[in-house]
């Protein structure tokens, strides 16, 4: 069996290595345009920031070492320009010599990846316009920054990579702004979460300008200014992180079915509409595990899973890819942000009846050094009680919170399945009531009508207009609010009528919940607790 793999980064090398283990007799050849294969694209921002100092560490394998280690043939510097499905062959051009060759296959794997979007705007080819996709891209940016010529930079695009680049540039003393065309940075999170992150980044010295379009890059030889739809920004450099586009141009007119965003359509076995041709990694469109809708997951993690599955299927097994959850995590200055499953926005779009809760909970025993808070938003379906997703912010183990949710979502858990779980507890790691469990309890209280709230979104939309604010913090901390000492409430509050509209606010939400519970008992009918308290909604007080 001759297996031809086009592309040799994460997906391509994984499918090759696994396939050779499953069937060493398979003749596996990787055709790749670049000189390097199997590099750690996700590590590039950290190499720029000197967090990773040894460039060699970013290269998992050279073409030679990979070939030896796995028994795969690796042909570098070959650009595939054509595909003939009838003859089962592709045409490859040697990018150095121009020599054209034909490569035949029994099974073809397309794992050509994606390339950064390079908009056709003025100044795009100026010096100090950088990208962040390949080791060479990172070398260029790093050299310029280390050379001392970059004092101010604009990062165009507020996705994870853009934000990681921003953090790393900031750590090297560069003044960084982020611009994004969308209403918010970090696609996939709900808007109130990204607003919180935007405020946090501003506190850390990284301004994020959203709803801001990149229009031109100005300068004589080098970047001098970045012209946006909002204003012109002084900058010595711009890092283009506007997204990526699947490298699928060579498939035009081949009859391979494509999606509107130029990714390749595949079935659950990662086959294209030609059963002998597989597509995976950044150039393929997979599906969402929860909704089964098309989902693009250009992530190293997905590429590896898909590589394993494609290899098994090529070797004759029949393994279906259950799809992705849209999991993502990013380290920002002083804050980690992670998510998985559906956001509230996406859950509504997918036809669920989302109910959400936001809770601020301790991330480890409050008395243990380094203890901090998680801001956790859980989303569930009100009708089926199916658990739908998590979004989590915090300086601590956000990855743990997300991974627990990944496991739960992958098992189709309902919110009730998430109660009473025996998670790991010791003071250096967690709290006696685990932060995940704690948040689940708050959600269940809300779904059972024991916790009546305004979410941060409802609050911002004006739901609390006409409400008197009661400050139920440990100590008075809100202006224009009546302070109530929770500990002293043992009966009616004479200053309020039973039907008064009362918004209960504390730092995290817990004391508001406790006061509400007590006021209900004493006959108050119109109380609402503010989810997320002043820690999350602080900028509104």
């Amino acid at each position: 069996m001759k297996v031809l793999i086009i592309g040799g980064v994460a997906a391509g090398t994984k499918v090759a290595a696994k396939l050779k283990r499953l069937d060493r007799s398979a003749e596996v050849t990787i055709l790749t345009m670049s000189k390097e294969i199997s590099y750690a694209g996700c590590g590039l921002p950290y190499y720029v920031g000197n967090v990773i100092q040894d460039r060699d560490l970013l290269i998992a394998n050279t073409p030679e070492s990979f070939a030896k280690l796995t028994g795969t043939e690796v042909l570098t510097g070959i650009e595939v320009t054509g595909l003939d499905r009838d003859k089962k062959c592709v045409t490859g051009v040697n990018v150095e010599t121009g020599e054209v060759k034909v490569y035949t296959y029994d099974k073809l794997v397309i794992s050509t990846g994606a390339s950064p979007v390079k908009p056709p705007i003025e100044g795009i080819d100026l010096e100090n316009v950088f990208f962040m996709r390949t080791p060479e891209d990172a070398d260029a940016l790093k050299a310029a920054v280390d050379g001392g010529s970059i004092k101010r930079a604009v990062v165009a695009g507020g996705g994870f990579i853009g934000l990681e680049v921003a953090e790393n540039l900031k750590e090297k003393g560069v003044k960084v702004s982020v611009i994004d065309m969308a209403e918010h940075i970090m696609p996939g999170f709900d808007p109130e979460i990204t607003e919180y992150v935007e405020d946090h980044l501003a506190d850390e010295g990284i301004m994020a300008f959203t709803s801001t379009k990149l229009e031109a890059i100005l300068g004589t030889d080098k970047v001098e200014k970045v012209q946006t739809s909002r204003k012109a920004m002084k900058a010595d450099a711009i890092v283009m992180s506007l997204g990526i586009r699947a490298n699928t141009g060579f498939l035009a007119d081949t009859g391979i079915e494509m999606m509107p965003n130029r990714t390749i359509k595949v079935n659950e076995y990662l086959q294209t509409n030609d059963e002998n041709i597989y597509a995976l990694g950044d150039c393929a469109m997979v599906c969402n595990r929860l909704t089964k809708a098309a989902a693009w997951s250009p992530m190293g993690s997905s590429a590896n899973i898909e590589g394993r599955i494609a290899a098994k299927n090529i070797a004759g097994e029949k393994v279906a890819y259950p799809g992705v959850l849209g999991t993502g995590i990013v380290k920002l200055p002083g804050l980690n942000a992670g998510r998985t499953g559906l956001s509230e926005t996406d859950a509504a779009k997918a036809g669920f009846q989302p109910v959400s809760v936001m809770a601020v909970v301790d991330d480890k025993a409050h008395y243990y050094p380094g203890a901090s808070s998680f801001i956790v938003k859980l989303v569930a379906d009100a009708k089926s009680r199916k658990f739908l997703g998590i979004q989590c912010l915090g300086i601590g183990a956000v990855d743990k919170m997300v991974d627990i949710a990944v496991m739960a979502l992958s098992m189709n858990a309902t919110v009730d399945d998430l109660e009473h779980l025996d998670f790991a507890y010791a003071p250096p790691f967690s709290t006696a009531i685990h932060p995940f469990e704690h948040t689940v309890n708050v959600l269940l209280n809300k779904m059972e009508g024991e916790f009546d709230t305004f979410t941060p979104v409802q609050y911002r939309e004006g739901a609390a207009d006409g409400y008197q604010v009661i400050d139920v913090s440990i100590q008075p901390s809100l202006e224009n609010a009546v302070y109530v000492d929770l500990s002293s409430v043992n009966g009616e509050l004479p200053q309020f009528g039973k039907d008064d509209k009362l918004l209960l606010v504390c730092s995290k939400g817990k004391r508001a919940y406790m006061l509400q519970n007590r006021l209900k008992y004493y006959g108050y009918t119109n109380t609402k607790a503010l989810e997320g308290g002043t820690i999350f909604n602080g900028s509104d007080f």
Copy 2:
């Protein structure tokens, strides 16, 4: 409804607070023998070690603040000495005045906790014999250590608390040894795991003497020596951490059903054999979620979950406790150790056909600063393919690995359910192939017959006797082994016969797997890879 709660630490205060929220009209009274309630017992070792410097942080609530906050009546300094189930009342003695009173109830909650085992041996009342159960215990040890009089200490008992005390004493410059009557420290882990931990602790300067019984404590006024079944050890202090015993003496002759270890038997609603009497926390015997066998879980985390459930049931709901998984985690010097579910030993005892695998995997991107390895052991049932448990060691996020497994076990996942999961990945947090996923893949390879191994236990038991050792490390690193460069293997190895018994060893196990795969293809029939490689089995090479 009059609800009487005996005991006011984690379980007692939780049931009181939750019950008052569910039904503020309930008259809830806590009777507690001590002066303090609701303290963080798990934090005490860290207070001794000055990791936690502010003692007040360990006290979640004073009796007064708790009473005000929740509306519970708290009576301290009351020892309950008797129970009359017919009259529905208990007898309490004021420990200061000796005054005897009778307290009636509609529902009684027994959450009296447990006390440290204090063996009746010579010298047990000498100065510098310490316990580690209450804030006062911690105060005493801390004062002695801070006073400079403790140079050498023996910790009697190698459970989590004992090891935490050992770590904290060591951090303060005390020379510490741990003695344990059992064959190994850390009950609940498989023996090869605890042996690894014992070796690690020795490297860190903490000697663990196992199968070693405490026989006497010698000294004139203060501790001078600790006499064990093995030898006499010089010591200025001994910390007794030999386990705890449920505080249930007052229930003798009341007809309340007890377990052989003197804990209280409860049903899934946490009721004793008297439906008006609940028991929870350290004094109650609950069940294992997987096997439904009796399980004792004297942990702050279990106490909180049980408190929530008992409160709901007393308030009229019908909530069953699904039981515990035996989850535990401990921070040791330079190593975290965690587990959940069944160990291989316990799985076999419970009637499963356990299959296990041990893998050494990266805990985050290998190029990211601070990256290290996890040593992970997974256990599953060979027949049903049910996932049964995890044990994990590492300097990184062991809590994450354990909590993922908790979620999986709680959903009754099979090993197949654990494949292809979209866990969170970015270099600061994880690897592109998530360490949990990676280990699952290794287990599946083993279960599918693609990975033929000796486990560390099989190896130690002599299964590899008669095998030639092949060193398949990146560079030759084993004495008395034939080195084979994996990259150069492209056919038969002339120095070995096809039926030779070959043990393949590398640092983590992965290269051994790859070589085995290749050798099988070339017709070698008797190869075994050593699970855990030299990183885990290092002391044997």
